[in-house]
Amino acid sequence: MNDSVKTDFKYVGTRPVRPDGPDKVTGRAKYGADLNLPGMLHAHYVRSPYAHAVIKSIDFSEALKLPGVIATMTGEDLPEPGDKLMQGAEIEMKLSDMAPVVMARGRAMFHGHPVAAVAATSASLAAEAAALVRVEYEVLPHVIDMHAALEDDAPLLHADLITTGLDPAPTVPSNLSVDLALEMGDVDLGFADADVVVERTYSVPMCHQGYIEPHAAIASADETGRVEIWCCTQGPFMVRNFTSQLTGIEPGKIKVTASEIGGGFGGKTTVYIEPVAAVLALKSGRPVKVVLSREEVFRATGPVSCSETRVRIGAKKDGTLTAIDIDIVMDSGCYSSSSIMPATMFGAACYRCENQRSRGREVLTNKPRVWAYRAPGAPQSIMAVECAVNELAEELGIDPVDFRLHNAVEEGDIPVFGLPFQAIGYKKALQAAKEHPHYQAPLGPGQGRGLASAFWINSGQQSSATINIALDGAINVLTGNPDIGGSRASMALLAAEVFGVPVETVHPTVADTDSVGYCDGTGGSRTTLATGGAVIQAAEKLVLELRHRAAAIWGVDLDEVEWVDGKAVARTTGDLENLMDAGAAVQLENREMSLVELAETSGATGGPLSAVASLHAHNSAPAFAINICDAAVDRETGKVDITRFTCIQDAGKAVHPAYVEGQMQGGAVQGIGWALNEEYLYDENGVLENPGFLDYRMPVASDLPMIDTVIIEEPNPLHPYGIRGVGEVPICPPMPAVATAVNRAAGTALYDLPLSPPKLLAAIDRAVE
């Protein structure tokens, strides 16, 4: 272990009440739709009733006859996007794939696609006006199923789309947007060496992040063209950058304030409504509010790719893996943006196996453009690999944990994506799973057990923090990261640790884009690591400054002043030798000044106590997680009950363990929902049939057992406090753990998720026949 990694903590690792808690439980917290401004207009969208159509004309004349209808907008109000790449996007994507998601440009690509918007003096008037907008369409053939989209005679979504990733590049356009491959070793040789080979195909449905707060934004513009946006987002700086690039408004003229956020899970790492609010505000000269309905959120924000993955895995009799071959196809909706790259790279990252091949293809269909969801891409491919590994272990008669321990990656191993592993906690987590009472417990009648492990890369990216100390020693910490999972509490704990003061004296704030340095969004499991890293740096700068101040007051050298438990302490006083010579008793008069005393006198000792730190974090480290799931199946109805569920995760240093556990439990529940009942259902016209929580069946609280958690703390050797990301990997292992448990309970081999009762009962009946 790197000696520069701190392992002895006083505040980090404790569980104080979150600073934002009282506001949230009393209803004082202001979410996206909670702001209203004088003279505000309300916007309403006109959306495509067709899954694929040319927009021939848009006529606002009837709508504009209604008194109180002030402004209108179409795709023509956004500049021509050209071939530029989006700046500040997590994945490489073209502006031309982004702009038409916000507002259609000439063609409606999916049912519910925004075609126009109107702004009026009330929400109901705006809705009435939107219904009066006449849009003339020429309906085109559409394709919803990704396999059908790959057929030669499929309707072509983009006449100029040439597959990327192939060499040589194809000469004819298709709906295959990406085709990439990774390989190491010799896979064919590996399979020739295998004693047992498992091969199977796994399907995962299109789902939605299902955040509880629908998108909401309000924009206003002044006479100089400066635009202010208040919105519910994972990244206010992302909103500034994206809105600027999409509308042509200079970034310096946009100020974004993030509201409190009711969930995002990756779904709010892009913009939908903010550019529309900004354009309508500029056109009308009045504030414009846009609030999506739940139906609009389901129909026309970014859901999550469905996938089909063929996996082939071979092993020796002793369980040693000899070859892994993955072929995954993902649906990106109507523009390229799926997470095919991480899906292709990370499916088998838990396993040391020298012969690996992985192919990933991304397909376009007439559905909303997909977007990120916790560990984007990984759950789909990990689902396939983990189920296959379980089958392989069973066939070889090896315990699934022992099988994984035998093949687990560790420090120094190089995975197929090429980045060597540093110290990781995967084997420790596997050992903890094996020793957990859940893994030892006998199963009840009709129950099955599944175990799965998972890897996620985690990200670092750019962050800033400002710390200001008030005259009473109160510490104000400003960052630009919306608090989704308890990040204010983490920032407060990290600052408290550096200053050595109680966490209650630290006041964390989520600041607007004019008030703090640039921060990438709250996502990629990066905030505690990277923004927390900036907080640590800013706090350390201030501690240094406080030592300087104390040294100057005492007239001693800086290195004679230490910072201990929130106080400047002079190491020794007086000249020891002289004192000895004088024969006097050695008096070590401890000179101390507390943070409060130094803050009170700061005006006389050099001015305000304030520090800024900005960084580009290249010190992120991967996370590993293991889930154990017990499921009971009603063999006559196909209904599944999850009876016990345990999550084990290497979190690195858990800054606020309760919120680490919250991430683990939340990810588990989302993964369970995705495995059992969540899915996008389209009819033959390409219309989503279940755009609401009644028929888009996320689990409710009573569906689930208490999700048990075990945190393993293998410090990240690259981070001063040993922090890893924790927010994404929890959604990676639940699907294979659930699928394995259910299939074992039911005696089936159903790997076409979701395992909804009708599908499972049919599989049970087939297995009996």
């Binding site: 009573s702 009762p757 049919a762």
Partner: protein, 289 residues
């Protein structure tokens, strides 16, 4: 939404006057269906007539004749009444399945009938309890059996301007109990893919002397299934008889395939639920709580 008028009359006569004049005038009880439909743009009422101040619609009496339940009495009032739950356990459970705790404070058995969803949870339970529906209109009053009230998905036997006033469940014979089961993929906050209600009467020796079986979400309306009842009557409710009742229910079902489930699934599972509900009803008679 272009609602122009809301009124809350305090007598049945006033309510009938207010509702006269066409389908744009909508009665409102708890509003747990109507308000959702208005928000979704499925209905555009001009005049909403709130029925909750009318005594006949909010009264509840339980006596030797049975239960008389005003059509607007909230679910929570019924489900927290221990005597009703003891006498009509299946009906009470079915009504309690509608919505969340918050919705229970508003939703009503009468509303559940009038919304006329094929999947309505309390309708099969009303049918097996031989409930009658008391209807008032400007032209007079009439009664209809619960199984004849709904006529299809979203449609019922009320003429424009008529009001469902109350439901009457006769007092069950001695050694009678009912049960209701539904299949949803979750545990609550969902709509039945399949529903099944059973009411049984046993003699002292355990022979079934009377039975009613009704099934939901497997046809355009909830269905009374005499064939399933016949499979139970005269038996000791042995495993074969219960299975036969299930087969009869599956045979009577005319389900569709939709986003919530396949026709095959519904047909199969309705038989399972009828068998299980019958077993529960029997155990309630044999081991009364």
């Amino acid at each position: 939404m272009s609602l122009v008028q809301y009124s809350a009359p305090s007598t049945l006569a006033e309510a009938l006057q207010a509702l006269a004049g066409g389908a744009a005038n909508r009665p409102l009880a708890g509003g747990t269906d109507l308000l959702v439909q208005v928000k979704l743009g499925l209905r555009d009422p001009q005049h909403i007539v709130d029925l909750k101040r009318i005594p006949e619609l909010t009264a509840l009496t339980l006596d030797d004749n049975g239960l008389r339940l005003g059509a607007a009495v909230p679910g929570a009032i019924v489900t927290t009444n221990r005597e009703i739950a003891r006498i009509y356990p299946g009906f009470t459970e079915a009504l309690g399945l509608i919505g969340s705790s918050q919705v229970q404070g508003r939703c009503s058995a009468g509303g559940n009938l009038c919304n006329a969803s094929p999947a309505a949870d309390c309708v099969p339970a009303l049918i097996v309890n031989r409930a009658t529906c008391h209807i008032a209109g400007l032209g007079g009053e009439r009664t209809v059996a619960a199984e004849d009230f709904t006529t299809g998905p979203g449609t019922h036997c009320l003429e424009d301007g008529e009001i469902l006033v109350s439901l009457e469940l006769p007092r069950p014979a001695p050694r009678t109990a009912d049960a209701y089961l539904r299949m949803i993929p979750r545990t609550e906050m969902d709509i039945a893919i399949v529903g099944a209600g059973v009411a049984l009467t046993l003699d002292e020796s355990g022979v079934c002397t009377d039975a009613r079986v009704a099934i939901g979400a497997v046809a355009p309306t909830a269905l009374l299934v005499p064939g399933a009842a016949a499979a139970l009557i005269g038996t000791t409710l042995d495993e074969d008889s219960l299975r036969n009742a299930g087969y009869a229910a599956s045979g009577a079902a005319v389900p569709i395939t939709d986003k919530r489930g396949t026709a095959d699934y519904r047909r199969k599972v309705v038989g399972v639920l009828v068998r299980r509900a019958a077993a529960i009803a029997r155990s309630r008679i044999e081991q009364p709580t």
